[in-house]
Symmetry: C2
């Protein structure tokens, strides 16, 4: 990455805790505008609030589908994505069907993702593989299936289960998808140094709830 990289433009400023209120989401959006983060990332219940708050800014609305377990009925996942996009989401982070990956039922994995991709329309689809639950081979397979099924990004982790992003997984994911698809590292990223390591390993988006602290550290270190 060049020295003039704008780290803030790689950050999805994220608040997915169940107890978040509309006021918390409005604060999240204001911070995202202030820092010029790439997006604010929030649960589907808040998409319309965020779309209003972020209208006319350069900050995108990012929401989720089948999150965080990925084991919901495929039609529900697609419906969730469609509703979020209709309410103003620019990007959808869906969780693939982890159990189907573990069973090597790759046609189910594909169909589940393709259904959400169709529901997304022009919105960007990111597919969360929950890497910590997969073998290295399954990580690669999952990434390749996600791309074939219409994903524009693959993403490492939900943050609600096993450990989050690590450098090794991001390298595997980048290798699997090649240079033209995005790789989002997420969960447990709380320092600028770690964010930069993940970017070095191949990430071009960082999902974190610690974006403000990360930017402060980053600016101080330059």
């Amino acid at each position: 990455m060049a020295g003039d990289m704008r780290l803030n433009r790689l950050i999805d400023h994220t608040l997915l805790k169940p107890e978040a209120t509309s006021d918390d989401i409005r604060r999240l959006c204001a911070e995202a505008v202030e820092e010029s983060f790439y997006s604010a990332c929030l649960n589907t219940h808040f998409v319309s609030v965020a779309a209003r708050e972020l209208e006319g800014t350069d900050v995108k609305v990012c929401s989720i589908a089948g999150f965080p377990l990925g084991a919901v009925d495929s039609k529900v996942k697609a419906f969730e994505a469609r509703r979020a996009v209709e309410a103003g989401a620019d990007e959808i982070d869906m969780v693939l069907n982890v159990g189907a990956v573990k069973s090597a039922d790759y046609s189910l994995v594909f169909d589940d993702i393709a259904g959400v991709a169709e529901a997304c329309g022009k919105a960007l689809l990111k597919v969360i593989i929950e890497a910590a639950l997969l073998t290295d081979e399954e990580k690669s397979d999952a990434c390749r299936i996600a791309v074939k099924a219409g994903a524009g990004f693959v993403k490492s982790s939900t943050g609600f289960g096993p450990p989050g992003a690590n450098v090794g997984d991001i390298a595997i994911m980048r290798k699997a998808v090649g240079p033209d698809i995005g790789v989002k590292a997420s969960a447990g990223i709380r320092t600028a140094a770690f964010a930069l390591e993940l970017i070095e390993a191949g990430a071009d988006r960082i999902g974190t709830s610690a974006g403000i602290q990360i930017m402060r550290e980053y600016m101080e270190s330059r």
Copy 2:
């Protein structure tokens, strides 16, 4: 509880881990039949598998909606419940909108639950309040709203966030709903002794993935 209580008939035998496979769910159902548990509880993707496995037995199919964050769009929650019931679920454990409870937006809390209750039709609706995130007053309020909105049960915890069931919360929930509504204790219940404490405090259903171990301990202690 009387000495002849059939503890097994109070247990929802539960497997909600994202990496569970269809084979794992078939095993869960077989165990539920063997032990004559009240239900097998699983993600919506597996409802049709479980309905086939449990057909003709006395074990119910229990699934979920808006789980575990509760912050999905209300229409998605209702759609998820409807799909699960159509696929054969007898009971739906939904998560209420925790953020709306924290904001004291009780009309939103009510409407969100009522939409799922309608989608459930004759299926039993349990409303998870995620007690560990609420004040005692919010716990009582949430339980009373759930009952008004059509819940047949209130339930303590998802098991995917903060700590699970405890005796104090179950007592508060039982007091809030009175004798005619069910109270399900869930998350972190791994011993017969703890299950019996929770039942003593007012629970009449136990959600656990340790049901077999609990029954073994229970039978040995009698």
